[in-house]
């Protein structure tokens, strides 16, 4: 093979004093060869994006490389001045980021933002820039590129925005594209499309890609070679086949195993007993208020949704963003009031309850939220946060606090955690607190809304294990809302697939995954990254 496009040798990057470790990455060496996709894999805090930021000259303040070199085009990028770096960025190395929602300037038209790349490097005049921007938008497959070029970012979907980002990064035909978690924030079908686009463009233009991700499924889809990182060090480096089929390091194995290697769920249960939760013909429409001259806009979030959940059962609600799955969850806990339909819990009609009566019944359905950082009051001690629910329902403070300790013990944090504040815990630990909080009221039903989506895969696996364990111990009934079919396959007995507010398909997990009846379900299943690979190896 010819000389690599990028060669990282013994790179060490120091973190500012007071960080949780001295080096973001330590003595890291790897190459990116011409025309290959190199995947750098790791969980949050592994330092996987650090090398990329260093070579772009985009390291955060206070973080600087202390040793090693990064050779690109015959020069060491670490020795460049800011001005030299600037010439390189966009021209020879393009970069795309994780959050397409925030990565574009909200106040500038898409076309102008692409044209800026040409402007930054003094290419073409005003009119030519627009023409090139249009050609780029066409190349990345945006529908109606002539309209998209005049659109503001908020008028585009997440996938379209990521396409704009890609168009921008590729504008000057760089030799190297750095993609930092480019599909993490996208829906599964959109993710599949973006991955295909990146693979396609990479082949067509023969460029090299450094692809940073936490998801081994994505790795299986795109990687030629893989570099696995943990705590700022490389634990494994090799070709995609080698690493995926025959991982040498136990951490790599753990990461690969953390993703359900087999998305076919085991057959569970048999006959479904009498339902605990029964939902019939639920409807919910969100209306934006119209004005004197303006028609009101309607969004059908729930459209005639009916299903049931038996005691001790876990029902998964699966769908992409905008499918209405979260609205359904919010209706079940009655944070939202459905327009019509009934929702009965063990015979009590929850739809008609209001005011004091509703408040007295609320303990029966509890919720675990998606974001473990935002869902705990940062100024409330953890024990008190858990005890608040029971206290509001008449339990004495003393007893509620004692129970909080027991619950924290149950979720694996130890009773001593009661006196600590949320910021002292990691994301996974906070989600355990969230689970303890939901359990505190001894509810009949728990609604978990994307409860593991914000967590790293290995932490995700632990939380799912905890839920599984608690289900056995406490015979919990769980309504599990997720966008991630792999997670749903792991924990759910029964699956409901939603799209545009309607139930597309429902059935036992086994039936839905093994013999999906509807085209949309098949589409979702096919979009799961790394699926082909896993089926091959299975």
């Amino acid at each position: 093979m010819s000389e690599p496009v990028l060669s990282i040798r013994g790179l060490t990057i120091a973190l500012p004093k007071g960080a949780d470790r001295a080096y973001a990455v330590e003595d890291v060496s790897y190459d990116v060869e011409r025309g290959e996709i190199m995947c750098v894999v790791g969980e949050s805090g592994s330092g996987k994006s650090m090398a990329a930021n260093a070579l772009m000259g985009l390291l955060p303040k206070g973080v600087r490389p202390t040793a090693g070199e990064v050779i690109f085009d015959g020069q060491d990028l670490l020795t460049l001045t800011e001005k030299q770096h600037r010439k390189l960025r966009g021209l020879h190395i393009g970069m795309i980021f994780q959050e397409p929602m925030t990565a574009l300037n909200p106040l500038m038209r898409v076309g102008a933002q692409i044209a800026e790349v040409f402007e930054a490097h003094g290419k073409y005049n005003g009119k030519e820039r627009q023409a090139h921007a249009l050609a780029l938008l066409e190349e990345v497959g945006i529908p109606q590129p002539d309209k998209a070029i005049r659109a503001y970012p908020f008028q585009l979907s997440g996938g379209q925005r990521q396409r704009v980002m890609i168009a921008m990064a590729l504008a000057l035909e760089p030799k190297l594209l750095i993609a930092d978690e480019p599909t993490t924030a996208l829906d599964v079908t959109t993710q599949a499309q973006i991955l295909e686009l990146i693979r396609d463009l990479q082949k067509r233009r023969g460029m090299s890609v450094m692809f940073i991700t936490h998801d081994f499924g994505v790795v299986a889809e795109v990687a030629n070679r893989v570099c696995v990182m943990r705590y700022g060090q490389i634990v494994e480096l090799g070709s995609a086949e080698e690493v995926l089929e025959n991982p040498q390091h136990e951490y790599t194995r753990a990461l690969i195993e953390a993703i359900p290697s087999n998305i076919i769920p085991e057959a569970r249960g048999g006959e479904r007993p009498a339902p605990l939760l029964e939902v019939k013909g639920l409807n919910k429409v969100f209306r934006s208020k119209g004005g004197l001259f303006k028609a009101a806009r309607e969004v059908r979030a729930l459209d005639d949704v009916s299903f049931s959940l038996a005691p001790g059962e876990t029902v998964g609600i699966v769908g992409e963003s905008g499918s209405g799955k979260s609205t359904l969850g919010r209706c079940v806990v009655r944070l939202e009031r459905p327009d019509s339909g009934t929702l009965s819990l063990a015979g009590t009609d929850f739809t008609t309850l209001t005011g004091e009566e509703l408040r007295r019944q609320r303990w029966r359905v509890q919720m675990i939220f998606q974001d473990p950082y935002a869902s705990l009051n940062p100024r409330t001690r953890v024990g008190y946060a858990i005890a608040q629910g029971p206290m509001a329902n008449g339990v004495t403070r003393e007893q509620a606090m004692k129970q909080a300790g027991e619950l924290l013990d149950l979720v694996g944090l130890g009773a001593v955690a009661v006196d600590r504040f949320p910021h002292e815990f990691s994301g996974g630990q906070r989600q355990r607190i969230g689970i303890a909080r939901a359990l505190a009221l001894n509810p009949e039903l728990i609604v978990a809304d994307e409860a593991v989506s914000a967590l790293d895969v290995s932490i995700q696996a632990q939380i799912l294990e905890l839920l599984e364990d608690l289900k056995q111990k406490l015979s919990l009934s769980l309504l599990f809302i997720t966008h991630d079919l792999r997670v749903a396959a792991q924990i759910c007995d029964y699956i409901i697939v939603m799209q545009h507010g309607r139930i597309v398909e429902q059935g036992t997990a086994e039936a839905v995954f093994l013999s999906p009846q509807e085209a949309y379900t098949r589409e979702l299943l096919e979009a799961i990254p790394g699926r082909d690979h896993e089926l091959e190896s299975a």
Partner: protein, 325 residues
Amino acid sequence: MLYARLILMRLLKAVVVLFMIVIFNFFLIQMAPGDPAAILAGEAGATDQEFLRQLRERFGLDQPLYVQLWRYVSGIAMLDFGYSYRQQMPVLDLILARLPATLLLTGTAFVLSLALGILAGSMAAARVKKPSGSIIMALALIFYATPLFWVALMAVVLFSVYLDWLPAYGMYTVGAGLDGFALVLDVAKHLVLPATTLALFFMAIYTRMTRASMLEASQQDYVKTARAKGLSPRVIQRRHILRNALLPIITLAGLQAGQMVGGAILTETVFAWPGIGRLMYEALMQRDYNLLLGIFFFSAALVIVFNIITDLVYRLADPRIKEGS
């Protein structure tokens, strides 16, 4: 088209709000102890009941309340704000005579504070953690914390009395009989001190706000995108950071602009500037209710007008608003 509709909508709403203000004003004067006739009579030293009755009849105060209300409201609808008996002039003429002076003063101060504030704020944001940036912020803090009248007095002492560069009071040199360019220059000279004094406080606020807002914007993902494109720091600062940081400033500027009629009482008094602020002060001292209410109405109307303008500017600045509303 969208804008024309929007402006029409807003104007309709504004008329409703103004109508409510007029009614509120009317009842405000009803609640004041004694009616205007009694006050006038009292000031004239007359206690004669017959004289009072005549006065009441002349002003229509002997009519039932709803008739009075109707007369008052329909009067205002035809821009008749009544008569100031103290000044022996229609209220409208009094206000219109003073309005240009006030608008000149507050308008200049507004533009000055906004321009210099944003400039100083962006300079401070670009020089964060550097001595020059800290100096800007320290100055802003001093101007923010110092009482307006004290700055005004000190400015007079320094620039007028001590240095004799600028006139200390008034709007033009009395009796000079200037015209054309000489008059403009004369007014401009008189304007410097009061306008600067008035501008300092808001300039300090804009400086602090621009800096904070820009520092926040510079942390956003799109700034990293802009850097990854290879754009120069100057372009990033102006096109990506400042533009986004200006949105909250527009809101604040709209609030300040609404204060333009009533907000300069202190400055006008210190510098003897012949504006609405002083007119209001005099009206208050002399219990000239008609005049006071007229000024209230004009201030309220100006607040509403600037609210509408702010809304439109915000829409121009932020494309997301259009679809959201």
